[in-house]
Amino acid sequence: MDQKEIAELVRQMSAELGITDWEITCTASASVSAGMMNDELVDFSSSRDCDLTVRVIMDGREGSATGERLDEQTVRRLVSLALENSVVRPSEPECPPYVMEAGKTYPEKRGREGHSASVSQIIACLERTQKALFASDHRVAEGTGSDAACVECSTFVENSRGLSLSQSWKSSYIDSSVVVKSDGEVRSGYVAVEGDIAHSDTLRAVDRAISRLGAGTPASGRYPVAFSPECMTQVLSAFWPAFSGKSAALSLSPYGGRTGEQIASQVLTLIDDPLYPDYPAQAVFDGDCMPVYTKAVIEDGVLRTLLYNRQWAMKAGCESTGNGITTSSGSSICPYSFYIKPSDLSLDGLLGMMNSGIYVTGMKGFHAGANSVSGDFSIESSGFLVENGRLGAPADGFTVAGNFYDMLRNVSAVADDLDFQVTLSPFRTGSPSVLVSMLSIAGKQ
């Protein structure tokens, strides 16, 4: 069934069942990906998938259900499941469920179309990349691999109030995991690049792996710590829920009712941008069909706003920030390009300010080692010692521990090297290198 036929079937069923309002959100995606290990193409896959979410409102309650098949039997089942699910949802007179009326003005996307890549381009790109990786240094070893993919995604929304919206994007990425071996020591390095994969290279992964050779474990203690962009984006990914209006309302974040307060260092500005220039996966409407806009969440250390969808904004007595996201259970909250604003300070300048300490370039285990409610984190890390303001010996086998909420107050500088995670989705975090005055390192006794 196409979108019009699905909408017509849901319209008919709604009339029969007494459903007040309905909305369908259909996301179709197509992807091609391939993986090469050493000089072999070991994996190739393609997929065409659909997600249909049906949302219904009856007796002031909302229910939803999601399915992947677009046939009549599935659509009928989704309407029934959505209706059954609505029965147990509490009626919320302070924020009655609704579907968006037609007639809103939505922003335009800013900048370039995304890059797509054909199967042959992906394979050629992988072959070229693997050759270049192995040719770049004799220590690059078996086990070195690269993956590349191209994804195209489009979303259509139609509802009982005559609204019909669509948005789409496409993008490609390549990543390389490089293994180097030297004198019995094994190290690895990783780089991912989003965009024009035909003209991207991932040779930095070799440099990263080689730079790890000979790493030693630093002594335990308290050090000034700088985080690389890759690491700080991981920190933001783990702790962004602290800026969700829902988390604040449910005592899961310390930031409820603190708009206007200084919660971070003055050098810190945190932005949520659904329309980050030239990012292909920009969004122009959110999961509630609200127009999106760019906003500072923290400006010069002051909390300016939390992130809201319609439901939690109404409960908080404020306007939605256009951060709704459609899930199988209805609207939830999610940022877009969520990043720390860079300064004009170079990384060298930042390390000079630090003088001595640790520059952390690798962190693992945030899903378990970070608690977004308490703010505590304790994360396996690797990086470099910083001596006399310059990068020194590689270091690994240590943890960096602290509290995110304290850490935001103790940021003493941000650099100019803003970089984003590669997610191929509207949600991603970004950051330049960030210097924190003091954190705990667990390494050697």
Partner: protein
């Protein structure tokens, strides 16, 4: 049957048409239900129908796959044609496909199929969990309770003639409590799951026990100080403590890493890789266990796979494709989150087997160390073996006695090293449930062990 058998044969024929030496069709239809409660009110209710077809072909050591979320013949045959087009450009070499259906013994009795129970009745379990969580203390400011159930039907057919299917039902309840005092928030959680229906609440833990346990842990952490970072002797409790083996060694024993030499344990079968105290097993055949399967996602029957026997490496976890590279048979370890993922070797229920040390002797043997009562999750780099995991409830041990609680600890190390450093293993093996993420998606796995002692563990704190 989820799709017509003649269509399965046509899809296999199409995938084989350009010269592949093996082809497989995987069909799935799953209903995933979940509901959650926050602020003592129903917060979300969701039903997701996952259905589609994944098609794979091999030619030697090359694998190609395609998937579609449609069951119509045009989409399925187009996916099969994509596979044939990408794998090679020759002529068919495989013999005619003759499917023979195999029925599997179902060792998982399900008393109450969750998807057959009205949502209203399920909500009652959450109210009970929520009330118990809040009743634990006035300091509990929030309880997030949830119930998720999965009813997964799969069919696997391949060019060797296999045609088989399975129905996999799982239920998991969870409570996440937040305790608050003087502006400080701490959390605790409890999330039992089984390959069973709603009898989970009668046979494993009641809603009240789940809510109370989550709040107990949050309250312990509320009063806890931070641990000083350093190197400690560590005692790790049974149940989810087994995540230490899962992360530090389990992933490095999966063919996904071993086949390409990307594991510190590759090529070491028969070698001593662990202390003699360590026997480690991956067992997908435990009735009603969270990670159990009648068949894996390639249709191979699961089995009890002894990985390490008294410190000696005996086996890996192997899927069909990586088995080709390794010259080994599948161990029934192929798993995928759904039809949209390419399956690879994964764990099922993985645990360190019971030893002979008494728990009281293990604690009494530690002069200054850490007792990890509950573990969080973790991760590993299989190439280097470096792992980390979080401790969610811990106590200092001084002079052989468990003392004050501490929070914010994480354990890091290297898999090959920790296996040698496990020098005491207790008798009471228990498991804990987790969702394990890897290249073939997120899958349910059990981890387990008795109380163990590890010397020289780096503990990150503050």
């Amino acid at each position: 049957m989820l799709i017509d058998q003649s269509l399965i044969v046509r899809a296999l024929d199409t995938a084989l048409s350009s010269g592949a030496d093996f082809a497989e069709v995987f069909v799935e239809e799953s209903l995933n239900n979940s509901l959650s409660m926050v602020d003592s009110r129903v917060d979300s209710v969701s039903s997701v129908i996952i259905c589609g077809v994944g098609i794979r072909a091999y030619l030697g050591l090359r694998s190609v796959s395609a998937s579609t979320s449609s069951f119509d013949s045009d989409s399925i045959l187009a996916a099969a044609a994509n596979v044939a087009g990408a794998i090679t450009d020759g002529k068919r070499t495989a013999e005619r496909v003759m499917l023979r259906e195999r029925l599997n013994t179902n060792i998982h009795r399900i008393e109450t199929v969750p998807s057959s129970v009205p949502v209203k009745e399920k909500v009652d379990f959450l109210y009970r969990m929520d009330r118990a969580a809040h009743a634990a203390s006035g300091f509990i400011v929030q309880a997030n309770c949830s119930l998720a159930d999965v009813d997964r039907r799969i069919l696997v057919a391949n060019s060797e003639g296999l045609l088989t299917s399975d129905r996999q039902i799982r239920t998991r309840a969870a409570c996440f409590s937040v305790a608050q005092k003087d502006g400080e928030s701490q959390t605790g959680s409890c999330s039992p799951g089984r390959r069973m229906g709603l009898e989970l609440f009668d046979r494993v833990m009641s809603p009240e026990e789940i809510g109370a346990e989550a709040s107990r842990q949050a309250l312990v952490n509320l009063g806890a100080g931070y641990i000083d970072s350093g190197v400690y002797t560590v005692a790790i409790e049974n149940g989810f403590g087994g995540v230490i083996f899962h992360e530090s060694c389990g992933h490095s024993l999966e063919a996904t890493s071993v086949a390409y030499g990307n594991s510190e344990f590759a090529g070491r079968l028969g070698e001593r890789i662990a202390s003699e105290k360590v026997t480690a097993i991956d067992d997908g055949t435990i009735p009603n266990a969270w990670g159990s399967l009648n068949i894996d996602d390639e249709g191979t029957a699961t089995r009890r796979n002894v990985l390490i026997e008294k410190g000696v490496l005996r086996n890996y976890m192997v899927d069909r494709f990586n088995g080709r590279r390794m010259g080994m048979q599948s161990t029934g370890s192929a798993r995928r989150q759904s039809y949209a993922y390419t399956p690879t070797s994964r764990m099922t229920n993985t645990f360190i087997a019971a030893g002979s040390d008494r728990n009281e002797d293990i604690i009494a043997s530690i002069d200054r160390g850490l007792y990890c009562a509950k573990m969080g999750g973790g991760s590993v780099n299989p190439v280097t073996g470096e792992f980390n995991f979080a401790v969610s409830e811990a106590y200092l041990v001084e002079n052989g006695r468990i003392g004050r609680p501490v929070r914010g600890a994480s354990l890091i190390g290297k898999g090959s090293r920790i296996l040698m450093d496990i020098d005491m293993v207790g008798t009471d093996m228990r498991t804990g449930q987790g969702m394990c993420g890897s290249s073939s998606g997120s899958i349910p796995t059990d981890v387990g062990q008795p109380l163990i002692r590890v010397v020289n563990m780096t503990v990150g704190g503050r």
